[in-house]
């Protein structure tokens, strides 16, 4: 085994390690199923993993540092690039954190729109997860079946905000755009068709013996391990822990929404697969309730806090002081009061939260992202030991990591 140090960094040796007969292999960052840019340093005995070292940073863009040089509104599009599978969830988490910092609450209609958008992103993300997970395990058609539905949802997002992947669909203090009645009709029509598709995917996979052989008892994640590694989201629920921030610390409209938190007691990949599928159904239920709430609200989209958030166009055009404030907000940015804030949200992948320290400046003094995928990558070093090489792909797949979010 090599002893890397500063003068002799680790290099991939192509020859076998003769002394202990283990093979060191670089899994990624260009491996087809490294989910973006994961580099796993695997020590293999045959196909059995005896040591795994996840190495991250191949997609590092320094987003937390970038935040310190951007005014708050400027940072919003950057958050898109974290979990790019469900970018509205990032926008939402950031917006919630800043809103708590400046003590503003979005109007009820904006909250309903956010709820619909975030849950739509969750649906999109889960469908994408099933697609790539099935592809990793070798079920090729599922991927294309799933991608069609994801495409429809992306079309919806494009209709709403103009972007398909990096939405930036949420602003601090509300949302920029209202739904149109046609959009809602399209959304509801789509939601009617998706459950049938989910049933079809389930029919193909759930009782398929090969699928079960590949997933059952693979990637066992005991409760204690899930706790101690800081897992969240479906990973935690797949290990039989009923924890969902939407239920435990409801934010915005979630306290009014009726939905179940599916859990699986088996703690393996199969359990997580079932959790994901059930969450898709629950998400559809939530979106429908969100639309119902939306219909009862009045038309206000942005919060009324001219000190932090630009006033409405009407005010800008009629009131001199509003215009002045708007000018300052655009050129210098909002200046939240001194303080620090952390707001957790339940993103499709788990607990996503932004920790912001404000010194009363227009720029955050420090911004830290607690992204679920980062913790789910760290756990790999304990989790993969003893598994087969073929199962590593299944396990990484079932943890639903997105590397934009890990490396930031």
């Amino acid at each position: 085994m090599q002893q890397p140090n500063k003068l002799r960094p680790f290099y991939e040796n192509v020859a076998f390690e003769r002394d202990d007969n283990t093979m060191i292999i670089n899994f990624g960052p260009n491996h087809p199923s490294a989910h973006g840019q994961l580099n796993l340093l695997l020590e293999l005995q045959g196909e059995k993993v005896i040591k795994a070292t996840p190495r991250v940073g191949y997609l590092h863009r320094g987003m937390e540092k970038m935040a310190e040089n951007m005014i708050y509104n400027e940072y919003m599009p950057t958050t898109d690039r974290m979990d790019y599978i469900a970018s509205t969830a990032n926008n939402y988490a950031f917006a919630l954190a800043v809103e708590k910092l400046i003590d503003v609450e979005a109007p009820r209609r904006a909250q309903a729109i956010r709820l619909v958008l975030v849950e739509l992103n969750r649906l999109m993300s889960h469908i994408f997860w099933l697609a790539v997970h099935a592809l990793d395990v070798g079920a090729m058609s599922i991927m294309l079946y799933c991608f069609r539905e994801r495409e429809y949802i992306m079309d919806l997002m494009e209709d709403y905000c103009g972007a398909r992947l990096t939405h930036s669909a949420i602003r601090i203090g509300g949302v920029p755009l209202d739904f149109t009645p046609e959009w809602i009709e399209k959304l509801l029509a789509l939601l009617e068709t998706i459950p049938a598709q989910i049933d079809m995917w389930e029919k193909i996979l759930t009782t398929n013996r090969i699928w079960r052989m590949r997933l059952e008892d693979v990637g066992n994640l005991p409760k204690e391990m899930a706790y101690s590694w800081g897992c969240s989201g479906p990973m935690l629920r797949g290990s039989g822990i009923k924890w969902d921030i939407r239920k435990e610390q409801p934010y915005e409209l979630y306290s009014e929404i009726d939905f179940d938190v599916p859990i699986a007691q088996t703690c393996d990949s199969y359990g997580r697969y079932k959790v994901f599928l059930e969450e898709m159904r629950q998400t559809i239920k939530i979106i429908k309730q969100g639309v119902a709430i939306y219909k009862t609200t009045d038309s206000k989209l942005m919060a009324d806090a001219p000190e932090f958030i630009s006033a409405s166009k009407e005010d800008l055009m009629t009131q001199n002081y509003s215009l002045m404030q708007h000018f300052v907000l655009v050129t210098q940015g909002m200046r939240p009061p001194k303080g620090e804030v952390y707001v957790p949200t339940e993103s499709p992948k788990g607990e996503l939260g932004f920790y912001i320290v404000s010194e009363g400046e227009a720029y955050p003094h420090r911004l830290k992202v607690r992204s679920p995928s980062f913790y789910h990558t760290g756990i790999l070093q304990d989790w993969l030991v003893g598994e087969n090489l073929a199962d590593i792909v299944t396990i990484i797949g079932s943890s639903n990591t997105v590397f934009g979010e890990v490396d930031r």
């Binding site: 192509v14 093979m23 292999i25 491996h31 087809p32 199923s33 045959g46 196909e47 099935a134 592809l135 990793d136 395990v137 070798g138 079920a139 090729m140 058609s141 294309l144 079946y145 069609r148 193909i204 996979l205 398929n208 090969i210 699928w211 052989m213 590949r214 087969n388 090489l389 073929a390 199962d391 590593i392 792909v393």
Partner: protein, 331 residues
Amino acid sequence: MSDVTFYIIETIIKASLVVLILSAIAGFTTYFERKVLAFMQRRKGPMHVGPHGLLQIAADGIKLFTKEDIVPAQSIKPIFKIAPIITAATAFIAMAAVPFFPPFELFGRTIHPIVADVNVGILFVLGVGAVGLYGPLLAGMASNNKWGMLGAARTTVQFVSYEVVSGLSILAPIMIVGSLSLVEMNNYQSGGLLSWLIFKQPIAFLLFLIAGYAETNRTPFDLLEHEAEIINGYGTEYSGMRWGMFFIGEYANMFTVAFLVSLVFLGGWNDFYFIPGAIAIILKVLFLMFLFLWTRAAWPHIRPDQIMWMMWKVLMPLAIVNIFITGLVIL
């Protein structure tokens, strides 16, 4: 023209026809596969090169031939270069003993569409097929790549396992027919649908088909080169036509297995009611090929340890029990 000269010329023509037609068909099968998969996956498949993408095969061929041929510096070069030839060559050699069609009259002579009518046809095909394992094995070992290494290791695991099952499962029909010649096998089933061996040996049929999937390394046993796990397995370092040879070999193998299954179990090239024998066997082979593709579209694939478990602990005992029962019935 003496009989010997005619025999030599006939054999040369037949051999070149088999190689030419089957490599062309192997190419066409890639198109067929992509289209079938596409229709099963709600998309269109290749559409841009030629009408309905028919010229895609030609485009692929040109691409493969004109690609740079990379031989890694640290590889064992002679073996690295020979390995794809082994795969492609054995795939075609195996076909020498396969009687493709019923005999027909041409220039006043009876032509047997079989290159070499050896009386141990099945053994020959299985044996040459087993030699084919050296292709991926040597390729993986020689290319000095760890993924190639893993692919080679998986090759051995898989081939050793399936060889046992395919050999044992085909013993039972051989016992019934009492011959190792594929022509004899075929003639045994000349009595119409009910004389097909699939009805006498359903278990052997299933076992042999499963082993055939493993031999041609198709889903669900495509673990030699499953991209999601070991990049491309033994083929990781190959490019251009060298890689293409593996491909051709794989598809030619699929045809060999399809012909074997239809000859041994599905009545071969005997006339099927109103369908003449030659067309009947083409239909059977096409159906089996379609089955290959269908499986690929529908199923995930299994792990190396699971294939060992399945072959040694499930299928092999079944095959042995099947042989015993067949023996008792014959006695």
